[in-house]
Symmetry: C2
């Protein structure tokens, strides 16, 4: 049966009973409170339809104790945009659980508002919370984990491809505790198509008359029992007259408060005698708890000697993920289809197939939920697909961990060499990009990423082999090899990240043989390096002319090499016409770059060259700038 | 009936007739040719299933003349990734229409390959080509425009949200000449869900046995007659043994060649006597033809005096779109839902609702098709959603036009003030970002955007009112107001773009009153400015300390202000916690910034301040750096 042809639910009939009238007053009181607030009235027209369904939800279903709004096993209630915020804010105020100040900040509040996100984003966030609930529930049992996730969405949310990907992941990962609420505007054919696509994805869908309290309650009851994620569609919702006067719904919120208190007390009793009480409570000490950090570092140091010697930089990153899981069993790894890498993380992980954008959205939901730290693994070339979700995590300051694999093929089979992707990530405020060059840097970058609280951490890991552990201090940027004569005698400073660090060391050898005193500075993380004192950064970067080498676009590198520095990289999609993308990219050899550097230094400082008249000879005469 | 339960098409039975055998040999010959080429054999396993269906397509359906492979009214045949390229390359070689060198470059070749794109991208590109066909056909009639678009896709393509958005737009805009081909791997449940979602979107779907020539042909015939976009799913495709020997399929490609030649001759005859012949031929003089450029500039200059005086920068941009339409009736405008702006471009435009990512993908398809120039209009906040499509346009060097509206609410209702979005766009090689500050700059930027061939042009247009026409020379970056004493006497140079240019002029007034000699440089387009000779850029930027002002992140600005310059902007998602995004952002006043500049100059050059001891007094003492 097509969704568009079926209207389920009980039809309104007869006069309302006392219970229904109380719910109506609850809805009207909430709405009046919202209108008297600071939100412009035009915004209310759009969310008007959902006042009664949301009143029913709060009064009869929402697992929520107004006396302890941050109770961990509460239901999560999300709204999709700032325009819908009054829907939750008003009920929070009515139940007395909305204090002064910043109570509606993400994660700090009774319900969780998602105050802003691109259309559809909230569905991925909600799915992430429902996944967190599933993981916790499987680990600690239903007696400690029994909440649900409810999300009020708009028509545009359901239509987006992002939402359809999140919907597919919700089905694939069995998120039966996840319910969406939407109001159906009869003329909106795009929404009708959206509903049919949700149904085709495997969702349970029910259409309900939105002005009938009992029908709404019956549908919510049905959603709670559904084995699939459920979508409730409210048609012909109650429209309230602004002049209508209703009694303050003390009785309604009284019911809610008693139910919530009772549920929380029962939960506290069960927790007190639960054999995993200590582990459970430890899980909530922040997103990546301190104790986990210490455990992980201890395990890592103990395991290091046993790592196989052939590990690539990416393999080293995966070792870190495995050890994180050992430290915290609820640690989750989400992964996208990558050709040839599917089998690498089969344990305790969720395969998200081609749905990379939604996958990263889920990760933010996991982080907002709490208790379930996680990371995701994506091919480097897919970074633009996951960018909206990464930006949302950055805006909401969620410390999610995202591993980008260089040289891996994404779901479409393409391998995209980095060009402007690194720059476009570094431009996101609060997000830290790590691109380690070897084992020591992988270790340091993982440790820093686990404690990076300003926003997401992105680890760009190559499938090439890195160097071994050296016990270096990394600190985001550091002198890997100084010139023999000391920092004040440098002729040039080479800066590089990731796989280009090894190249920089080769170039230093060539230059040194031509008496050009060269230092190599590795900068695996700009954001971390920026946090160092300015004097320290100056000491590391030195006063000599600077050359940056990165197999990517130079956009933004002026920050470290100055406007007069030399950048060697990939500043266009060279050779893309007519050839596969993987054939293009960074093709510089160490001697080519050394030639360019000599030319660059000659221009900068002819004195240097006069001092070393044999330079051109040593490098060769067929240099082309 | 659920897609997964139905297998339509004729079952194979009895021995093959001569025609079927010929098609089989055609497929095998193509496959042998491909294997003997340069593609690694492992890639062949994945595309193996489609050899026979594609052979049937080329032999019996594809409108294509091997003698004139670039014939305009040819069918378009696309493959979704580099791994599938041999599918078209081999048939091109077999039919003798694949020459030496660069013949498979995008748009330069008989069929159009999309050699690389994120999963699902090719479906939007194909939909764009089908839309171009529809627009041209409606304008010039079926006698001149009678081709179709066929796309061979992989399982991952169909699953992505991006593809589902493109699928919805294909139905919404009636693209009945659009057919997808995919091979069904029996165990792939994700693909089955993908098929059901395409069906729910309104596509016509048929499942066919992939080893039966007649069944394949019947399905293609059915797709041609379908009033909806069609998806053909091939099950149990023929697997060829590599040692199998087949006769060279001369007969098959002979049939194809004769059919193609005959079709093209008929078309040429119809064109010769068509009353719109001249207009039709004019349309193919490049993406934005020279003549259109001249027409547009003439019309624009004639209309300028009649523009209402209250126009915002965005309104001025729309005037340009309207005049472009007058110059070229097939000019298409695609627009996304933006609250309050829906009615602005109701004529000759396609509403793409919440499907912004796919919309920009369609635009690239339009450009690759030729004959139908177009632009799209999106809220600035949605830029991350359209980024994969913008990058694809940049990689394929398509000069698409994209208008980003500052201050407009996207489909989800959110208004996102720019933070790192401008930087992330400027980082894309070949893409030009224009952010004009007023009427003269809008005029200059539109003219430059229409002739920008390296890649996409993005016009970031504010809904604030700009200044009037001034007859300035813009050239990407220019001195808007010099200090009275001349360039060599500047104390400071202010750089700004868009709406911050007016602010910079106010700051100059404050600074001038404190005897700080200030020049204002407007930089509406970095990429254009970079194309100017270095000496000219140096002259404009001057030798004095530089300050950049932009209501966005400073990432990348070091290119113009140097590592030692001052940037005033928005370097974090300030105030995002707990407040709506639109309340955050750029809150600097002119006098605040003037204070910061004085502090900055004091540090730089205490001599300046000693020379003007009254500066601190004039600015006020409560400055905070």
């Amino acid at each position: 049966m097509r969704v568009s042809e079926a209207t389920l639910g009980v039809a309104a009939s007869g006069p309302m009973d006392a219970g229904e009238r109380a719910t109506h007053s609850f809805a009207m009181a909430a709405r009046r409170l919202a209108i008297s607030g600071h939100v412009p009235s035009e915004d209310f027209l759009e969310m008007d339809p959902l006042w009664l369904p949301v009143a029913v939800l709060w009064e009869r279903f929402l697992r929520f104790d107004p006396g302890a709004p941050a109770w961990w096993d509460r239901d999560r209630f999300l709204v999709s945009s700032a325009r819908m915020k009054p829907l939750s804010e008003a009920f929070l105020r009515l139940t007395g659980s909305f204090g002064a100040g910043n109570d509606l900040a993400l994660g700090a509040c009774a319900t969780v508002d998602i105050p802003a996100g691109l259309a559809g984003q909230v569905i991925a966030t909600g799915a992430g919370m429902a996944l967190a609930e599933r993981v916790m529930s499987e680990h600690f049992g239903k007696s400690l984990v029994g909440h649900r996730t409810w999300v009020a969405v708009g028509a545009a949310d359901l239509q987006t491809g992002f939402a359809l990907e999140a919907a597919a992941l919700s089905v694939r990962h069995g998120l039966s505790q996840f319910t969406l609420l939407v109001a159906l505007d009869a003329g909106n054919t795009a929404l009708t198509v959206g509903l049919e696509r949700f149904q085709a994805t495997g969702w349970a869908i029910r259409r309900v008359t939105g002005d009938n309290v009992n029908a709404i309650a019956a549908a919510m009851n049905w959603a709670q029992r559904s084995k699939k994620p459920a979508l409730l569609v409210f048609e012909g919702c109650a429209v309230f007259d602004e002049d209508d006067v209703a009694d303050m719904a003390e009785s309604s919120w009284g019911i809610l408060a008693r139910r919530g208190l009772s549920a929380r007390r029962g939960w506290l009793r069960r927790l007190a005698r639960h054999r995993q009480k200590a582990t459970f409570e430890k899980s909530f000490d922040g997103h990546f708890p301190e104790w986990m950090m210490e455990d992980w570092q201890r395990t890592w140091m103990a395991s290091r000697p046993h790592f196989p010697s052939h590990l690539s930089i990416f393999d080293l990153g995966l070792q870190a993920v495995r050890l994180l899981r050992n430290c915290l069993p609820t640690f989750v790894c989400l992964s996208a289809s990558m050709k040839g890498l599917e089998a690498e993380w089969s344990d305790n992980s969720f395969d998200c197939g081609a749905y990379e954008p939604a996958m990263v959205g889920l990760l933010t939901g996991l982080a907002l939920h709490g208790g379930v730290p996680g990371c995701c693994v994506v091919a480097m070339g897919s970074v633009d697909r996951i960018r909206p979700a990464l930006r949302f995590a950055a805006m909401t300051r969620q410390g999610i961990l995202c591993i980008l694999v260089e040289g891996a093929a994404g779901p479409g089979g393409e391998i995209w060499p980095p060009v402007e992707q690194l720059a476009s990530l570094r431009a996101i405020p609060g997000l830290a990009v790590f691109r380690p060059s070897g084992a020591s840097e992988v270790e340091a970058c993982w440790s820093r990423a686990l404690t990076w609280r300003q926003g997401p951490s992105v680890l760009v890991l190559s499938q090439e082999k890195g160097d071994r552990f050296s016990g270096r201090t990394v600190m985001g940027g550091y002198v890997l090899t100084e010139c023999d004569e000391g920092v004040e005698h440098r002729d040039v400073t080479l800066l590089a990240t990731g796989t280009e660090v090894r190249l920089a060391v080769q170039i230093k050898e060539i230059l040194s043989s031509a008496q050009i005193r060269t230092a190599v500075v590795s900068v695996p993380c700009w954001e971390w390096f920026s946090d160092q004192p300015e004097a320290e950064r100056r000491r590391i970067l030195g006063a000599a002319p600077r050359v940056a080498i990165e197999a990517a676009s130079g956009f933004g590198w002026e920050r470290w090499i100055g406007a007069e520095g030399l950048f060697v990289g990939v500043d266009e999609y060279a050779g893309f016409d007519g050839v596969a993308a993987q054939e293009a990219g960074f093709t510089w050899s160490a001697s080519d770059i050394a030639d360019r550097i000599v030319k660059f230094l000659e221009k900068k400082n002819s004195a240097l060259v006069r001092k070393n008249p044999h330079i051109s000879l040593a490098i060769g005469n067929d240099v082309t700038g």
